[in-house]
């Protein structure tokens, strides 16, 4: 079976490139699963989503992706993230801390859009690191 060529890039660096069997990402319309020979798609990713790349033999590659796009054409999948972090690189303690702080400010002020944003990001990072949120 054909493989997908996947590239996860953020403006400041290329996070990961390689071959994969399936890519699962979350667009604003909902979860999207890409397998080889998928029709060309250009989708907008949600803020604080988790990207999952299924590979043959290896464990899944998981990354927290904040905003950006997924583009699929001819078995090439590129994920353009504004900021992205591989699950293995997430500092769990810091992310937990950030989540708690954000939740505290949401409780204090329901209208705090900035804190909600922070909370979503922190939650995505924790999920990418394999923690339960």
């Amino acid at each position: 079976m054909a493989k997908l060529r996947v590239g996860v890039v953020s403006p400041e660096r290329e996070l990961w490139t390689g071959e994969a069997d399936m890519v699962i990402a979350k667009t604003v319309d909902g979860e999207i699963g890409i397998m080889p020979e998928h029709a060309p798609v250009l989708g907008v990713l949600v803020e604080g989503g988790v990207l999952r790349v299924k590979r043959d033999g290896d464990a899944d590659l998981v990354a927290a992706v904040h905003g950006g796009f997924i583009s699929v054409a001819n078995n090439d999948v590129s994920i353009l993230a504004e900021t992205a972090e591989l699950g293995s690189e997430v500092d769990v303690a810091r992310a937990k801390d950030a989540l708690q702080r954000a939740q505290a400010s949401i409780e204090a002020d329901q209208e705090d859009a900035d804190a909600r944003h922070q909370a979503r990001r922190a939650a995505a990072r924790l999920r990418a690191a394999g923690e339960e949120v």
Partner: protein, 299 residues
Amino acid sequence: MGAQLRQLRRRIRSVKSTAKITRAQELIASSRIVKAQQRMQAAVPYEREITHAVSAVLTHTSGVDHPLTVAKEQPASAGVLIVTSDRGFAGGYNANILREAEALKGHLTGRGLAVKPYVVGRKGLTWHRFRGREMFGEWDGFSDNPSYANAKEIADALIQSFKVEDGIDEIHVVYTGFVSMLTQNVIVKRILPLEVEESETPPEGIPPYYEFEPTAGDVLDTLLPRYIESRIYNALLQSAASEHAARRRAMKSATDNANELIRVFTQQMNQARQAEITQEISEIVGGANALADAAAGKE
């Protein structure tokens, strides 16, 4: 010791310490160019992908007019983003940028547009303040090591004023493009209304017909600002690399000049010392002769 000799010694000492400083600056700049180049390289994949995506969307949505791609029929004002450095000691780096910016301003004024400067870098800011020019955006503190967040901040401000009524109708950017360690050129570009440039590689055939999630318009809405951010980020990165290259070159020639001065002064100092010794000897000999003559006369 003669006055001239003392003076020369003092000048040599002072030039030597200047040379030490410029040499250190040169070395620092050289090491930073490498880092700046690496950052430029790291940004290439994202740029390539986003350019690809934008051109793919635009080829298939010729019917969709987006505010950011449509030129106004009667443009009234143009924003100019000028990227300068925070620190000097970089030869003609900032002077070149500001000269080109002035030329662009003349050109735009000739077309009947009001020019609104948006300035990055402390050198550009002081240049504008000194001349009492109004600035519509000011940023500094990151010229030698820009992050994507900086580019985003600038892009947000520019897009914001592009969108509002009575804002700006065109956006140009003036920055220094990094060609190589030895060549950097000032580049003047229009970034809005948008013209998508294919970077280096020509498009390989017609891009595939994409499905859009959620719709082409929505994708374009989020994609175009990202594309502009990426263009600005690229301009900042190239400027940073150019700044270090310009500084390295300026500091290298300063060090060379200082060493040349030291050589000339050392020669002059040796000459002066020799002349002093010769004079002392001839004075002693003259004195001894006079004494000997006087003694001979007495006899």
